[in-house]
Assembly symmetry: C2
Homo-oligomer: 278 residues x 2
């Protein structure tokens, strides 16, 4: 693990690292915020999964989350959104909604993507193991949050691993990737046409099968430009009318898909997560 | 005044405008945050002057200031840092420390800069007139703050117009531009070799001549990579040992020159300004 930079923020440390990833078979970069409390003891970690086109720094620079994390004693762990490097294949059309910056937090099974695009294993297993070994990160207190594609990621990793995450939050998540263009493009390429494989990474399909999940808070802006075609939050909301799970979905009037939306509500999300940590 | 975009943030409105500027003789862009209170009444304005290479959006996206401005009922007015456009001359060497993104908040007197680079008049006169006419901005309650080159700008516009600004703050300001490379390059180009002209835009020289100024809060990180060569805060601090003025300079241990530093202390600065508005 190599430290690329360190900046003081809110009495803590905003640090960027890179390391050779066995899951993604390339050098991966991630950012961490260590609150003042991490100077003297282990702290719980909130994993933040970013959306399409982001890397490990968008949330760090735009969300203002460090202020609240410093107060609550939370470590923020911010992975990249895909493998990167000269070897790593990108969308052949060069579009921003697939390939680099668009790993969708799945383990790809199809060539050429399967050689590097193993973001599910990276986020759920490898990165926690690394930061829990190298930084004062608690091994027992994890939460996860994310935005858009990363909101999808947060819901999926928590639904598949309810014992690993004490609580979950999401901003404007893709709730049913199998049903929308962003998800269909990514899943077709990464997973092929196997419907069962798609269902393993689709929050709505996972919710249909589960009887328990960690507490979840979801915020969705009703002026979000991607709501109708890509996010379709109502699919999740109508499932929750039939299935009793601790998932709260809030509509936020007038908010769009931007980081201003995240910045506005991140304090409530971090407090929600912190209160539910063991 | 043309609205370019609007996003909801912290219950208020983050808006971007452009307009034909008579001072700068080009189309100028600026950003404004309107807190919820501005929906029903006039609010005081804090003018934010950004640093080298910034435009009207860096502070808006990275500082987190809107959260506090929403609570305190402050309008944030964020001008660009220079004139822009195909006609506007840039540094012949294309460096980032002069020309576009580097107006230094002066009225240039030398050709070719004098045709557009009139940022002092723009910030002190034209922009306030515009927003006070078109938006619910108070005509009697103004404050100013800024970072680096914009910290220099904030100090200078307030020292030259103590009746216009109720309070001032600065993050890592250039306090003595006449004595440091960034300022010397800019002043030589914009103002020529006239020492008297330079003194009109040099905070330390203005402080030597003044007997009263608005209350000022200055924060400077002691790990700031530009402190020794460009900022030289100690020049201001040693003046204040001889001249009694309401200027507080704080050293912040471990902080650098980045927006993480601004984000950490912007809440204290906005509260400082708000408490001193009439």
């Amino acid at each position: 693990m190599k430290q690329l930079s360190e900046v003081r923020a809110f009495g803590g440390r905003q640090v960027r690292y890179s390391h050779a990833s066995r899951s993604c078979n390339c050098e991966m970069t991630f950012s961490v915020f260590l609150p003042p409390a991490a100077g003297t003891s282990e702290c719980p970690a909130v994993y933040w999964l970013s959306g399409l086109t982001c890397d490990d720094q968008n949330f760090a620079t735009k969300s203002g989350a460090q202020r609240v994390a410093a107060e609550l004693g939370l470590i923020l762990v911010m992975p990249d959104t895909s493998p990167r490097g000269d070897d790593v294949p990108d969308d052949v059309e060069g579009d921003w909604d697939f390939g680099l910056g668009a790993g969708f937090y799945v383990n790809a099974t199809r060539s050429p993507w399967n050689r590097h695009y193993q973001m599910y294993d990276y986020v759920v297993e490898e990165l926690p193991e690394l930061v829990e070994a190298e930084l004062p990160v608690s091994r027992t207190q994890r939460a996860v949050s994310g935005h858009s594609m990363g909101g999808h990621g947060a819901l999926v990793v928590a639904l598949k691993n309810p014992d690993r995450y004490a609580a979950v939050s999401a901003f404007a998540p893709i709730v049913a990737p199998s049903e929308v263009p962003w998800g269909q493009k990514a899943f077709t390429n990464y997973l092929g046409k196997d419907a069962a494989a798609w269902a393993e990474y689709d929050a709505c399909r996972l919710i249909e099968k589960t009887s328990a999940c960690p507490p979840m808070l979801i915020d969705q802006g009703d002026a979000d430009q991607f709501l109708e075609v890509q996010l379709q939050t109502w699919r999740l909301e109508s499932l929750l009318e039939q299935i009793a799970l601790p998932i709260q979905v809030r509509q936020q009037p007038g908010y769009d898909h931007s980081y201003y939306f995240i910045a506005t509500f991140i304090e409530e999300h971090l407090r929600f997560l912190a209160e539910r940590l063991p």
